[in-house]
């Protein structure tokens, strides 16, 4: 990434984190166990560090090899390793990040998506019905697929 791209990248990450921390405060307040933005700071910093680290690894590999996984594969892997029980500080890492709910973290992402949605509305209108139908077939497929395999293996291993 160029220097200017990095600046945008870091700003978007930091703003998303701040918005999510405040959103998380409102959301946890409603459920009766408020997590203030200040209490969310360690978790948010950890999320930011993991993300930036993953991005740097991706950039590094990109420089030496054409074959590369998407950055999310590295980000996810770093987050997994840091929270495996037994890894130094794993308990603290997991507990800190756990203070930030999954859904409040999604809201700022979808806010950016909402702002950019307008330009795609025409395409959405044209394909909307088909996408809804296909989604439901996909939902049906994952359930039936898993049920069929589970049924077969349970029979084969004599559990049922």
């Amino acid at each position: 990434m160029k220097k200017t791209d990095w600046a945008v990248y870091l700003r978007v990450l930091c703003f998303s984190a701040v918005f999510a921390a405040i959103g998380n405060w409102i959301s946890t307040m409603k459920s009766g166990a408020p997590v203030t933005p200040l209490q969310a700071v360690p978790g948010m910093i950890l999320l930011l560090v993991i993300t930036i680290l993953g991005q740097l690894i991706w950039e590094g590999i990109n420089k030496v090899s054409k074959k590369n996984l998407p950055a999310i594969a590295y980000i996810s892997l770093i987050a997994i390793i840091l929270t495996i029980p037994g890894f130094p500080g794993a308990e603290f890492t997991a507990a800190s990040i756990n203070k930030i709910g999954l859904l409040p973290l999604c809201t700022p992402i979808l806010a950016y998506a909402g702002i950019s949605l307008g330009k795609d509305l025409d395409t959405f209108k044209k394909q909307g019905a088909a996408i809804v139908a296909i989604s439901l077939f996909a939902f049906l497929g994952t359930f039936i697929g898993s049920a069929v395999i589970a049924q077969l293996i349970l029979k084969l291993t004599g559990v049922i």
Binding site: A73, I78, A111, S116
Partner: protein, 275 residues
């Protein structure tokens, strides 16, 4: 920063939308036989869509905001990863049936891709809709592979919205209809409930337990373990198996298909040329 940039306006608007949505909060609707919830993340999407449709936002601003989705979703990837680590030990303890039924999640593509192409003649949006059950992690996968403003991105976004609004309702009704038929053992049904979304799992599991109330405890354990497994393997399964499989199916199903030319639906071929 570029003087003509809309960046600050985008951040401020994203902040305002987020706050309004969180203040409204999650709304739960109980229909008696099933229930569904609307979440803040859905409101922000709708608010933004309305503003876009009403032409309140300049086109350049919408375009500038688009890559921000792919950046902010990275935080979510880190968050999801941090919930996997503590569970890795449990994965090893899960039995063969629980582990292998994870591959059943590829059923999304097996069921949806042929219908999308042979019946609806959809473009590449169907890849985004079909490779998974389109939960949060899937947004990140598509954002990094294709970008969320691609055809595939539109597919996964559309399915994400569909799943968020209709997912629990759909699973509740579908599983209540399937459970009493006796085709599947209750254990198999319970394992199938874990599709990687807590709310969808609860809706399906509720219907299974309703049909087999005496087994509630075992069924819950199977469903929760399966759901945990999917949240562990989902991202990697999507990247390395499901997406390549969808790409392959798309290629095979659109070749020698009179509704497609060079992998593009015939009606849309013209529009694609403009881009």
């Amino acid at each position: 920063m570029n003087k003509n940039s809309h960046e600050w306006r985008i951040h401020i608007l994203a902040f305002v939308l987020t706050m309004i949505a969180e203040l409204i909060g999650t709304k739960r609707f109980d229909l008696g036989f099933t229930a569904f919830s609307l979440f803040p993340m859905l409101y922000v999407l709708i608010f933004g869509g309305i503003m876009g449709a009403a032409k309140v936002l300049p086109k350049e601003m919408m375009e500038e905001a688009s890559p921000f989705i792919g950046i902010s979703v990275l935080l979510l990837t880190a968050k999801v990863g941090s919930t996997i680590g503590p569970n890795l030990g449990n994965v090893i303890k899960a039995g063969p049936a629980l582990l292998l039924q994870e591959f059943g999640n590829l059923g999304t593509a097996v069921f949806a891709m042929p219908i999308a192409i042979l019946v609806f003649h959809m473009g590449r949006a169907c890849i985004g809709s079909s490779f998974s059950n389109s939960r949060e992690g899937s947004l990140a996968v598509v954002a990094s592979r294709y970008g969320l403003d691609s055809e595939e991105g539109m597919g996964v976004m559309g399915s994400y919205i569909t799943g968020t609004v209709l997912g629990t309702l759909f699973y509740g009704i579908m599983v209540s209809a399937l459970a009493p038929t006796g085709i599947f053992h209750p254990y198999a049904l319970a394992m199938a409930c874990g599709t990687g979304s807590a709310s969808m799992m609860s809706a399906s599991l509720g219907a299974v337990i309703d049909a087999f109330p005496t087994m509630a405890e075992e069924l819950t354990a199977y469903a929760a373990t399966s759901n945990m497994l999917t949240s562990v393997d989902g991202l990697y399964m999507s990247l390395f198996i499901a997406l390549p499989m969808c790409e392959w199916m798309y290629k095979k199903l659109t070749a020698n298909n009179k509704h497609y030319k060079d992998g593009v639906p015939v009606g849309k071929a013209e529009k694609k040329g403009e881009e």
